[in-house]
């Protein structure tokens, strides 16, 4: 966008919204919204605290572990579903149910099953991410150009060759798309898991701050989380654009 002949950098509109926040905060309309300047001050203050860094570390650990399991289990499952009619018939209804289910409602059950600790949070994260990864890998394999498969067959490709040299690569753009959406959902999963279980990570911090009406702290942590989630998602989109450059061209 250009304004008075100057090209504005991306997301300059955030300045406007930040200003609005500051005004509302300064006006003292509600204790719930402190001025942005105060929130940012608090933000830098708590970034260095041990409690924050511990929360960040625990969250990162749960997030990475959850995403790892979602990818390692999700991609092969999806590819096999795309190739095998039987497996597809068996699993597809469950995948669809879990994809659209309000998984938050499952977290209490997980807590009962796996305890109130890290394990439940990791499983929650995996459950948020895995279904879309499975579905996308499956779709990637199913949309594969039939004549590529015929071509490989006509030149004498073995089933292993076909799997690693045709199916995987042909499905890669869809698989990566699924992984990106899965990881974005995993960010939600890890936060929701922590909030509900609320004795570790940012969940514990939120609990602490909101119970003590420390709204500045509360907003500061929220800004950090939003920024992290947004950065991860943008980074993945960038990777996806680089790898799937040919997807539109086939």
């Amino acid at each position: 966008m250009t304004l008075f002949g100057y090209r504005l950098p991306g997301m300059s509109s955030l300045l406007l919204w930040g200003l609005l926040w500051e005004i509302v905060g300064q006006a003292g309309l509600t204790f719930f919204v402190p001025p942005l300047s105060e929130v940012l001050g608090t933000l830098f203050e708590i970034l260095g605290t041990a409690a924050f860094q511990k929360a960040l570390f625990e969250t990162a650990y749960a997030f990475l572990a959850g995403v790892f399991f979602a990818i390692v289990i999700g991609i092969p499952t999806g590819i096999l579903m795309g190739k095998s009619r039987l497996l597809d018939e068996l699993l597809l209804p469950w995948v669809n149910v879990f994809l659209s289910a309000p998984l938050t409602a499952l977290v209490p059950v997980l807590m009962v099953l796996f305890g109130f600790g890290m394990k439940s949070i990791i499983i929650t994260t995996t459950l948020f991410a895995i279904w879309i990864i499975i579905l996308n890998s499956r779709a990637g394999v199913r949309q594969i150009n039939r004549s590529l498969v015929e071509m490989a067959h006509s030149f004498g490709a073995s089933p292993t060759d076909a799997f690693f040299k045709i199916y995987f690569w042909a499905a890669l753009p869809e698989i990566l798309g699924g992984v990106r959406i899965g990881i974005i959902r995993a960010v939600k999963g890890v936060i929701i898991g922590q909030l509900l279980i609320s004795i570790v990570g940012f969940g514990a911090l939120f609990e602490l701050y909101s119970a003590n009406f420390l709204m500045g702290h509360f907003w500061a942590v929220l800004i950090v989380l939003f920024a992290l989630a947004f950065t991860i998602s943008e980074f993945l989109a960038y990777l996806e654009r680089r790898v799937s450059y040919y997807a539109a061209k086939r």
Binding site: N145, S147, M151, H153, S154, F155, S158, W169, L172, R250
Partner: protein, 268 residues
Amino acid sequence: MTMSQTKETITPAAAAGFESAVSARNISKNYGEVEALRDMSLEFPRGQLTSLLGPSGCGKTTLLKIIAGLLEPTSGEVEVNGKKVTGPGPDRAFVFQDFALLPWATVLRNVAFGLEMRGVAPSEREARAEKYIKEVGLAGFENSYPHELSGGMRQRVGLARALAVDAQVLLMDEPFSAVDEQTRRKFQEDLLQLVQNENKTFIFVTHSIEEAVYVSDQIAILLPRPSRVSEIIRPTSFRNKGVDNIRRDPEYLDIVDEIWASLRTYVE
């Protein structure tokens, strides 16, 4: 158009003293209730180009894929050099209508793909691929990706891939239908050269009458419902008059008209 007439037209061609590289014998193919091919027999002379020509739905691509071993006939059998076909084999190579190139691989790797599947060592297969890339006129594009090439160039890659495995029989499924008219003409001229220089048997599926007459030593006219070989035409006089003279040769024009007359009623 009866079956007996069909038999009559086949016999002279088969008896004309040509050795068959490929024989299709009594091929039938059913998809459930639908009869795609019924009791079709056809001989393909060695070192020559045979076109399968007919309206859509006449089963020409089905027959080609059965010869390739990509489809299994419901009954009947195909022999290539006296050996019964049970699946794809190194004696045949396929050129696809939509090129079927790996979008994530360079031209070099695409051309070498058939050799790669046959377990040829990387250095040797790349050397052979490079040779055929030059031969189809794509030198300098070894490291390009398919999406960077025009349709005609992509099909040259598909052709180089089929040539690189050095199969005796080349199966071409409407290879020029997805390229533009001018490129197609150039391809047709190059194909005539190829048939002359390479001692290979070509089986060529097309729906273009002009194309079939232009490039073929033998044209098999296939008619639908039920699918059958209705006629076999062997142009004689214009093949050696040079690529520039074929299209105004009286025999060429007569054959084109004659084929259109017999196909006309089958075109919706």
